[in-house]
């Protein structure tokens, strides 16, 4: 049944890697991820986790070491955040092309400049097209469990996967955590049986030059694997519940049955949204919540099923794709395109750079949602001096004022 602890999201992620019996851990410290690697270092040093810990000199190398280890048949794990994930970008593609089931926990943080260590999901979502499976954890428990769940699917489809956990809000917040029995996890997640392990008895070239005649087919296999992962993820999530207590799926619905106004959210802010939805119900607004858990593979069917026929949908994006919209909003609009009864999608961009998304913030969004007629591509929430709304037309560049106290 496991033991109950009070732990932070970071420590939960480390326990996830430990319970998954990661064999090679390679990581570089970055705030706010550091506690993950500190705890894993300790576990490896004490022998609690039988693994090799490589204290690399950069995140790029962290992922590269995982690529090497995974190619040689070891279960490889790393954790990073923001700038670090961006630095890994090239190797994220490499891991996919090489079909290596590496799992990564990303403590999602805003990108510099200005330097910001606070919560935002743009770093994570910028990896959208790397071919990694992507999950958003909301709780400390999920920070642990999703690592295990992800390995289970990853090793079935030979694709890597990453789990987002919001900076501080989840990474540094302590919550009750059930650390599962190792034997139960072992039963759920058997040792990986790789297709190839760089065995000198079978000397093959791995990931070499491919000309135009063959590249597409080899990549098509990865595309197909990602689509196959959709069903396997559902199945593995259900089995997680049977084996370890809580079942997971690609989305979570909350008060959706008769909801007219649906909020879509992902990650730790969902807790506040969920509470706000209950409050809105008390105010007489038929609100509901659809939480996105899986972002890749994208859960088209549940989204279409749950959003069709609603009056209005507010997508809460703690991220931004400049020149377009919040990333979830655009993805969901695309998912609903051509669907009979598709609701208008109102894309709200908020919480950028770790700005709080309070219950009150959700109320403000709800008020705007109910009254606004035309969905804009992106509606910015909480920019100082501006009401909720789109960017201003004809924005001028503010000239620099002379520095105070400096002689001209």
């Amino acid at each position: 049944m496991g033991e109950r602890h009070l732990l932070t999201g970071n420590h939960a992620a480390a326990y996830g890697a430990k319970l998954a019996r990661a064999e090679v851990v390679s990581a570089y410290p970055i705030t706010p991820q550091t506690m993950i690697v500190e705890l894993l270092s300790e576990m490896v040093a004490t022998g609690e986790l039988e693994a090799r810990f490589i204290t690399v000199e950069s995140e790029h190398s962290a992922m590269a070491a995982c690529v090497g280890a995974s190619a040689a048949g070891a279960r490889a794990y790393t954790a990073t955040s923001g700038q670090g994930l961006a630095l890994m970008h090239e190797m994220l593609h490499w891991a996919t092309g090489a079909r290596l089931p590496i799992v990564l926990s990303n403590v999602s943080r805003a990108m510099g400049p200005g330097w910001s260590i606070w919560a935002e999901q743009t770093d994570f979502l910028s990896q959208r097209d790397t071919g990694w499976m992507m999950l958003f954890a909301e709780s400390v428990q999920e920070a642990q469990d999703f690592v295990i769940w992800m390995y289970r699917v990853a090793e079935q489809v030979l694709l890597p996967g990453m789990v987002s956990m919001d900076a501080f809000i989840l990474s540094h917040t302590s919550e009750p955590l059930i650390v599962h029995d190792q034997s139960a996890v072992d039963a759920y997640l058997p040792p990986w049986e790789p297709l190839y392990t760089l065995d000198p008895a079978e000397p093959r070239a791995y990931g070499g030059l491919v000309n135009r005649d063959h590249y597409f087919e080899l990549r098509y296999k990865a595309y197909e694997a990602m689509d196959r992962a959709r069903g396997l993820m559902d199945e593995a999530g259900r089995e997680f519940g049977e084996a370890l207590g809580s079942a997971y799926g690609p989305v979570e619905e909350f008060m959706l049955d008769d909801a007219e106004y649906v909020f879509v959210s992902a990650g730790a802010m969902t807790s506040n949204v969920r509470y706000a939805v209950t409050q809105l119900r008390e105010r007489g607004i038929k609100a509901g919540l659809l939480r996105l858990i899986a972002f890749r593979p994208f859960p088209f069917e549940p989204i279409r099923e749950h959003l069709a026929g609603r009056t209005k949908v507010a997508v809460l994006d703690r991220n931004m794709s400049p020149g377009h919209s919040g990333i979830f909003a655009s993805e969901i609009r695309a998912a609903l395109a051509g669907l009979p009864g598709a609701p208008p999608i109102f894309g709200y961009v908020l919480g950028i750079g770790g700005r709080d998304i309070r219950v009150e913030t959700v109320f403000e969004v709800a008020d705007d949602l109910v009254t606004r007629d035309d969905p804009e591509r992106a509606l910015y929430v909480g920019v100082k001096g501006l009401p909720i709304g789109p960017t201003r037309p004809g924005t001028v560049i503010t000239p620099l004022e002379p520095l105070e106290g400096v002689a001209p």
Partner: protein, 306 residues
């Protein structure tokens, strides 16, 4: 056979190396020394091509291809997995000069500082040859490349990667060259038997990039050694220097330069040439000093050599 060299090959014919590719020859010789229980990690470099297009593979050992800047650390990852699996496979990172001294230097430095149990071989042809002869930090002073044209040839001396590696105090760093197969194979064998980060710096001829006839490929490397442009030596523990080949022939740097079209701007500039030769002398003298310091009672250098 006059050579004490294993006849068994761990490379197939049909590689895509250019005519007289020093990198291909170096790999062939290195694998003779390294044996079957070897994994080779290859970042972006000529060898990404030389190994052949999918579904082909030119070596009789596994190769893991990887991104340009990652050879050392991917090798470290492979080694970690192998150790975790209870195997002591020799893991070799096999990179060019760009992948070693430029884009891959950070990962190499990290691996060396951590003393990862890998054998890192840099086959150095002194420019980005695979992309069409662009300068790298390994390109020597006064050299023509497509990004250091004759009007403004390379302005800086070649990066001294051996000193960088020695500064990491790794167990073993050595220069070698396929023109001296005995020395090269001995060094790969020695390195294979050691643990920790071992670095082998191979001068590797590139006839198309060096603008020379392919049949002179071995001779030009020999001249590099004998003119002291590329001395053969080893550094143990980062501090103990041993010169392995004391130049025996009266070979001048010009003899080496004049075999190659890429040194045309250098040969046309007497002042620059004099400066390059001063640097060659200084580097050599420094090396000899270190050798003598390491071997105070048995310096192999005769006074004439110094």
């Amino acid at each position: 056979m006059r050579w004490d060299l294993p006849v068994e090959e761990r490379i197939y014919p049909g590689t895509l190396g250019c005519q007289a590719c020093g990198g291909a020859l170096s790999m062939r010789l290195a694998l003779k020394a390294l044996g079957d229980d070897t994994v080779v990690v290859i970042p972006a470099c000529c060898w990404s091509i030389v190994d052949g297009p999918w579904p082909v593979h030119a070596l009789k050992v596994p190769v893991l291809h990887t991104a340009f800047e990652t050879a050392a650390v991917v090798a470290a990852g492979v080694k970690a997995a192998k150790l975790q699996q209870g195997k002591d496979t020799t893991v070799v990172a096999w990179a060019g000069d760009g992948g070693t001294m430029d884009i891959g230097l950070q990962a190499l430095s990290g691996a060396a500082e951590r003393n990862e149990d890998i054998l890192y071989a840099c086959y150095d042809n002194e420019a980005y040859m695979n992309t069409g002869i662009q300068r790298s930090s390994s390109t020597p002073l006064g050299t023509w490349t497509t990004t250091t044209p004759n009007e403004r040839p390379e302005t800086r001396p070649k990066k001294n990667i051996m000193e960088i590696m020695a500064a990491h105090r790794i167990p073993y760093a050595a220069t070698c060259c396929p023109a001296y197969p005995d020395d090269m194979i001995a060094k790969f064998r020695k390195a294979k038997e050691m643990t920790g980060t071992r670095f082998l710096h191979i001068l590797s001829v590139c006839p198309p990039g060096w603008k020379m006839d392919s049949e002179q490929a071995i001779e030009v490397m020999r001249k590099a050694v004998h003119s002291r442009v590329f001395p053969l030596y080893e550094v143990e523990g980062g501090l103990d220097y041993t010169i392995n080949m004391w130049p025996q022939y009266e070979t001048k740097p010009e003899d080496y330069f004049s075999m190659q079209g890429r040194f045309k701007p250098l040969l046309n500039d007497p002042e620059l040439l004099a400066e390059v030769k001063r640097q060659i002398d200084k580097n050599w003298n420094t090396l000899v000093e270190r050798h003598v310091r390491t071997h105070p009672r048995f310096p192999e250098a005769s006074p004439a050599d110094r």
